[in-house]
Symmetry: C2
Subunit: 371 residues, 2 copies
C-alpha cells in the first residue's frame, strides 16, 4: 500500500532561486559515491541482466530538475557499459518525480544525452508502484528518500505530546522535557513506513539480481539528531520565522503548524527497513562524513541560504500563502526571510566551533534477491 | 536519419485558448476510428506478444496535451485487455511529444488513469528514434503526422518557383501559373521524407507482429488540395493576416515568410511511404469523410476560430513576436486576428454551398513484419 504523498517540488526553471542553480551541496561527497556506485555495478556478484537482455532500464526516483540527476546517470551508465561490454545493448532511463515537478525543464536538460540513452519521465510518488513488474535493472535515488510522504499527524496535534510548537524541524536541540523524544519518534515511525512503501514497490519492479543505489542525507549511528547540520540550519530558519511572527509579519500559529517533512536516518534504521522488507540484500552500506568545504563564512552563509531557499520556497509559499486572517491575502516576505536567515547564520556562531553540527551521506547498494 | 524537427507545441495549460479546451474537432470521426482500432487489435492475425510477455508497451506519438490522448489510449487498452485475456499482464504507456510540449499539464491529466496502466512521458521528435529496439507492442499516433518537421526551403526562397508569397498554407486554390504545383510538390516531398523517417524509427522500435495505428487528417485520392477544408480555413487565416499587413499592423514580408508546416496526404501517398519503408504491412487503410456537424454558422465560426487559435498561437507568436523593425518589439495582436478571422468565416461564404471544402481522416493499421 502506497503512502499518500504530498508534493513539495524543488524550485523549477533556471532562475536565480532555482534548484538547478542551487543544488551544488548535493555534489559534496560525489567522488566517493561515484566510486562506490562503480564498484557496486561492476562487482561480478551482481548480475542484473540475462544473456538475452537487449535493453537495460534504469530508474531515477525523485530526480527533481537539477543537473545532478544527469551527472549520476552518466556515471551509472558508464559503469553499466563497462560491466555489460556489449555494444548492442541499449539503455533506457526513467526520470521519476512528483507530477508537480518541473518536467519540462528536466526534459530540456536531458536532450544532449539522448544519443547515448533513451529518456522517459515518470510522474508520481515513489512510495507507490510506478513501473511494470520486473522491468527495471538498476534503480537510483539520490537526496530524495529523506523527504517523508507526510508530516506525522501527532506533530500537528496540539493535544499530543509530539506537538511541535514553535519549531519547523523534528529536532532543534532546543526543546526538552520529553517533547523531543515524542517528535523524533513520530518522524522515525513515518520514515520507516515510507521507506517500507518504497522498498515494497521497488521489490516488485526490479528484476531478480537487479541493483538499487540509494543516496540519502542521514546521520551516523552515534550522531544525535540535534547534531545533524541540516537540523541546525532548519532550526535557525525556524527561529527567523518566529522572529517574523514576533514582529507581526506572519502568524505564530502558522509557524507552529509548519513542519518540514524531512528525517535524517541512520544506517541502522535503513538496514532495519531493508531487512523487514526482505526482498533485497545489502551489498554495501556506507556512512560518509561530509567535510566543511572551502569558502569564507560570508560565502557559505549566502550559499546555505540560497540552497535552503531552492528547496523550501515552494513549501513556504504553500504554507504561508494565506495567513488565515479572514479574507486578507498576504504575500509572504520570502526575500526578507532569507536575508535575515543569511544574517543569522553569520551572527549566531554557526560557523564557530562545532556549532554547525555534522553532515553525513548514507550510500546503500541493495541487490534484489532472486525469487 | 532523423529529420531536424521544429517544435510548435499546442497551447498548454487549461485556459480559454488551451488545446485541452479546444481540441474537440479531432473527436469528429472518433466512433469509426474506435471501431477500426478495436478490430485491428483484436484481429487474430495480429500477434504482438510472445507467450512469456508480462508487460505490453504502448507508445503515443505526438500526444500533445489534450484529453483526446487519454480517450484513445483507454480504447486501445480496453481492446488489448480483451485480446490478451490475461490479468497478470501489465500495461505501460509512453506519451511522446516535443520537449517543449506541456508535459506537466499532460501528466496532471494522466493521474486518474494510473491504476490501470503505468505512465511515462518521452520528450523528442518522433521523426527520430525515441525507444530501445523492439520495445513497443503498439504505437498510436493521432492528428500529429500531418505536421512536417520543417517548412520546405524552396517555399521560403523568393528566387524559387515554389516561393509562397502572400499565403500561409501550401495550397489556397487562389494561386496559379504553375506556382501552386511547385509549392505542393515541395510540401509533398517533405511529407514523404518525414513519414519515411517516422516509419524507419518505428520499424526499429516495434516488436515483430506489433501494431501501428495512425490517424491523420488528409484527403481522398480524388480530392484536390485546394478543396481540403483545413487548407480553406488556413487560407482565410492568411487573408486576415494580409488584411492586417495592409493596415500596417504587421509587415507584409513577415506574412510572406509564414508557412504552416502541415500537409494533407492521400491514402496513395501514405501507402507509397509504407511500401518504400518495407518493414510494415498494411492491415487496414481507410479514408473517412467527416460530416459537417451540428450548430449554427455563428457557433461553428467561433469553434473553428478557437480550434485554429489553440493550434496556431504558439507558431504565430514565434513568427510575429518581433516584427523585425529595428529595436521595436511589438506585441502581436492575437485577439484582433482571431476576431477578424471569426468574422471573415461568417461573411466570406464559407458556410454556403461547398465553400468549406471537404475534410477527411485517414486511418491506417500497420503490422510490423517479422524479421
Amino acid at each position: 500500500m502506497a503512502a499518500t504523498g504530498t508534493s513539495y517540488p524543488m524550485n523549477g526553471g533556471n532562475g536565480l532561486h532555482s534548484y538547478t542553480n542551487n543544488s551544488k551541496f548535493q555534489r559534496g561527497p560525489a567522488d566517493a559515491i561515484k566510486q562506490m556506485t562503480n564498484t557496486a555495478i561492476v562487482d561480478n556478484n551482481v548480475s542484473f541482466a540475462s544473456n538475452n537482455t537487449t535493453t537495460i532500464r534504469v530508474g531515477d526516483m525523485g530526480c527533481s530538475v537539477g543537473p545532478n540527476t544527469f551527472l549520476s546517470l552518466q556515471n551509472i551508465l558508464q559503469s553499466l557499459r563497462c560491466k555489460m561490454a556489449n555494444d548492442s545493448i541499449e539503455y533506457q532511463v526513467f526520470l521519476n518525480d512528483h507530477t508537480s515537478n518541473d518536467f519540462n525543464t528536466l526534459f530540456a536538460q536531458s536532450v544532449p544525452h539522448q544519443d547515448s540513452y533513451y529518456v522517459a519521465g515518470v510522474p508520481g510518488s515513489f512510495h507507490g508502484r510506478l513501473f511494470p513488474a520486473a522491468s527495471l535493472h538498476v534503480v537510483h535515488s539520490s537526496y530524495a528518500l529523506q523527504w517523508l510522504s507526510r508530516v506525522p499527524n501527532s506533530v500537528l496535534d496540539c493535544n499530543s505530546p509530539a506537538w511541535n510548537k514553535g519549531e519547523i524541524c523534528y529536532c532543534s536541540g532546543a526543546t526538552g522535557g520529553g517533547k523531543e523524544e515524542s517528535i523524533v519518534g513520530a518522524y522515525k515511525e513515518q520514515f520507516g513506513m515510507d521507506l517500507g512503501c518504497f522498498l515494497n514497490a521497488r521489490a516488485s519492479e526490479v528484476v531478480g539480481g537487479g541493483l538499487m543505489l540509494v543516496v540519502i542525507p542521514g546521520r551516523s549511528n552515534e550522531t544525535s539528531h540535534s547534531k545533524v547540520t541540516s537540523n541546525v540550519t532548519y532550526s535557525l530558519l525556524g527561529s527567523c520565522l518566529m522572529d517574523m511572527a514576533h514582529k507581526g509579519l506572519i502568524s505564530e500559529g502558522k509557524v507552529d503548524s509548519l513542519n518540514i517533512p524531512i528525517y535524517f536516518a541512520s544506517p541502522e534504521e535503513v538496514e532495519a527497513a531493508v531487512e523487514a522488507n526482505g526482498s533485497f540484500g545489502i551489498v554495501t552500506m556506507e556512512c560518509i562524513k561530509q567535510g566543511r568545504g572551502p569558502g569564507t563564512a560570508e560565502s557559505k552563509a549566502r550559499a546555505i541560504s540560497a540552497h535552503i531557499r531552492a528547496g523550501m520556497e515552494e513549501l513556504l509559499k504553500l504554507h504561508f500563502g494565506d495567513d488565515g486572517d479572514g479574507d486578507r491575502q498576504t504575500v509572504f516576505p520570502m526575500d526578507e526571510l532569507f536575508r535575515s536567515y543569511e544574517h543569522k547564520l553569520l551572527t549566531c556562531g554557526f560557523f564557530q566551533g562545532d556549532n554547525s553540527g555534522e553532515a553525513f551521506t548514507l550510500f546503500a547498494a541493495l541487490k534484489r534477491k532472486h525469487q
